[in-house]
């Protein structure tokens, strides 16, 4: 096992990694920008080194500074956390070139899944379901009709050269196909000077479902069930839950097994997440995140598996001892992402936290690097706390979440706590009957 690990990140995720290391008896080195000298993980780490000025490009994305520090402090491995350099294949390669371990996947898998086109091709090869559609451009109305008949209505006709919604038409049934096809071609011609269109299945109310996997690159892979991340605003996840209120056991086991087999076939190593859209019982691959996810704690809450510990163990070369049959799902978990933002305008609100009081008691976990008197710097992501709640049932979990939101205090700056307090009272959320566009529609309607 490693003696010392460098944590190449900041905020709550750096603290999360520090905690896992401490609990494994591994010493930690925190690197930080000059804006983060007072950060919690810097205070708690065994060693800390200031690597640059506030802008990320010169600190948390500064590969040379991080590698120099790693060499100087004599660490065995680097944990990249979430964001920043965590999916940077070049950085992972450089870490290896320095004779250190990158706590994450192999560089080639970072590169593969970092390229949207390659990733989709790889997904097909690996047997992952993707959104069905025409192979390339559709040349005629007859061909469009034939393809649409195969994949089923509604279908989306899209300009091959398109983007931004232009040259995009939905046909909800065969009756609408001819008009939609012609209009899409005309719009495509007008907008892009190219009338080529292709066709794919149109998802009207998909959920965002992602499957957590762990693999050791030594022939072992398991899935840890799904997370439902359909509550989004501008493609940013706001609240996640596990298991999904929209999935049954059959669907869960089916997609879990598909994901597991895909990872075995790929020879993937480390933790990873396969993201899907889910509608009418079918899954459609979107992308793979080759790193830890922000919302990983809800999976930890229902499985009892410490994902960061497993990631570190795998990186140290230990074959996984967990087998699929060891994984059972216990109860329900929800994570609220609490951002330093105005709860209605979402304008960032950095500044000094006067009071910080996390909720306590049974089934409650708070991952946050805040403390009373801490100054949230204006240079980084606005995520400041993750409130994670577990209950034996979804209803118990919701009731507990509600009382936690009553107890939690973050004073001095604006936060999205009030948004979460409104959300937990909403019948659509309580029923679990939301899809990925619901939150934005609801917020627009209830300004």
């Amino acid at each position: 096992m490693f003696d010392k690990v460098l944590i190449a990140n900041r905020g709550e995720i750096a603290l999360r990694i520090h905690r896992a290391c401490r609990e494994m008896g591994i010493a930690t080195v925190a690197v930080h920008s000059s804006a983060d000298a007072d950060a919690m993980h810097v205070r708690l780490a065994d060693e800390s080194v200031c690597i640059g000025p506030p802008p990320s490009s010169q600190s948390y994305l500064n590969m040379a500074a991080i590698l120099t520090t790693a060499t100087m402090t004599g660490v065995n491995a680097i944990h990249p956390g979430v964001g920043f350099l965590s999916e940077n294949a070049r950085f992972a390669e450089m870490v290896e070139e320095h004779g250190l371990v990158f706590i994450g996947p192999e560089p080639k898998h970072l590169a593969l899944m970092g390229d949207k086109v390659q990733a989709k091709e790889a997904a097909i090869d690996l047997g992952l379901p993707v959104v069905p559609g025409s192979k390339g451009a559709v040349e005629s109305l007859e061909e469009a009709r034939s393809v649409a008949g195969d994949i089923g209505y509604p279908v989306l006709i899209k300009a091959a050269a398109g983007g931004g919604g232009r040259g995009m038409k939905v046909a909800r049934s065969e009756d609408e196909l001819e008009d939609a096809y012609r209009m899409a071609r005309n719009e495509a011609k007008a907008a892009f000077g190219n009338s080529e269109v292709y066709l794919e299945k149109y998802l009207t109310r998909p959920r965002h479902i992602e499957v957590q996997i762990l693999a050791d690159g030594q022939g072992n892979a398991i899935h840890l069930g799904e997370r439902d991340c359909s509550l989004q605003r501008r493609h940013q996840k706001v609240l996640e839950e596990a298991p999904s209120p929209g999935l049954n056991t059959e669907a869960r086991e089916r997609i879990g097994e598909i994901a597991r087999q895909a990872m075995l076939k790929l020879g993937y190593r480390s933790a990873g997440t396969l993201e899907f859209l889910y509608e009418d019982g079918e899954f459609y691959f979107i992308e793979m995140n080759t790193r830890l996810q922000v919302e990983h704690p809800i999976t930890e809450m229902i499985t009892g598996v410490d994902l960061v510990r497993e990631q570190i163990r795998i990186a140290a070369g230990h074959p996984m001892t967990l087998r699929q049959e060891d994984i059972s799902f216990n109860g329900h978990a929800i994570e609220c992402r609490i951002n330093a933002e105005h709860p209605e305008t979402f304008v960032p609100s950095p500044g000094q936290v006067i009071d910080y009081h996390p909720p306590g008691g049974m089934g409650v976990r708070v991952d946050s690097a805040l403390y009373g008197g801490y100054r949230v710097p204006p240079h980084y992501d606005s995520l400041i706390a993750k409130l994670v709640v577990h209950g034996q049932t979804r209803n118990e979990c919701l009731m507990r979440l509600r009382r936690c939101l009553e107890e939690m205090v973050i004073d001095g700056i604006e936060t999205t706590l009030p948004l979460h307090r409104r959300l937990v009272e909403n019948p659509t959320f309580i029923n679990g009957s939301y899809a990925i566009h619901w939150l934005e529609e609801w917020m627009a309607a209830h300004r």
Binding site: D46, M72, G373
Partner: protein
């Protein structure tokens, strides 16, 4: 009596901004029969509010206590994390020594990072008062390296 009070708001706001920048707690200015005074009581809690890790982590070499010298008016701080070398090669004469006068742009020391030797030029002409690091010592970004008056 309807005499307006002659309030120079701009001057007042300038005083407030000077107070803020300088970290002072009080400024008083008098000119003829005009007098202005601004004051700010420092917030009490911020100092104690920060949780301290219990077992104060034994700071390793590179963590070198964040010295107040970084705030020193004449400090030259490290532009990067790396290893400081005071001489062009082992055993050679140091680039500069206390008491030396240097011209702007003159190399003060070398910071090695990723096997690249980065010369540290003097930001201005002046006299070297103290060299704060040892040859071969790891330095952080922003760490004071020498005092150049």
């Amino acid at each position: 009596m309807n005499q307006k009070f002659p309030l120079d708001e701009e001057a007042l706001r300038r005083l407030a901004s000077i107070l803020e920048d300088t970290g002072l707690t009080e400024i008083e200015v008098e000119a003829g029969d005009h007098r202005m005074r601004v004051a700010k009581t420092p917030a009490v809690t911020s100092a104690v509010s920060a949780p301290m890790p219990v077992a104060a982590p034994a700071a390793a070499q590179p963590t070198a206590a964040p010295s107040d010298l970084a705030e020193h008016e004449f400090a030259v701080t490290s532009p990067m994390v790396g290893t400081a070398y005071l001489a062009p090669e082992p055993g050679a004469k140091p680039f500069v020594q206390p008491g030396d006068s240097v011209s702007e742009g003159q190399t003060l020391m070398i910071i090695e990072a990723m096997k690249v030797m980065n010369a540290l030029p003097a930001p201005r002409a002046g006299r070297v008062v103290r060299v704060l690091v040892q040859d071969g010592e790891p330095v952080e970004f922003g760490e004071p390296l020498l005092i150049l008056e």
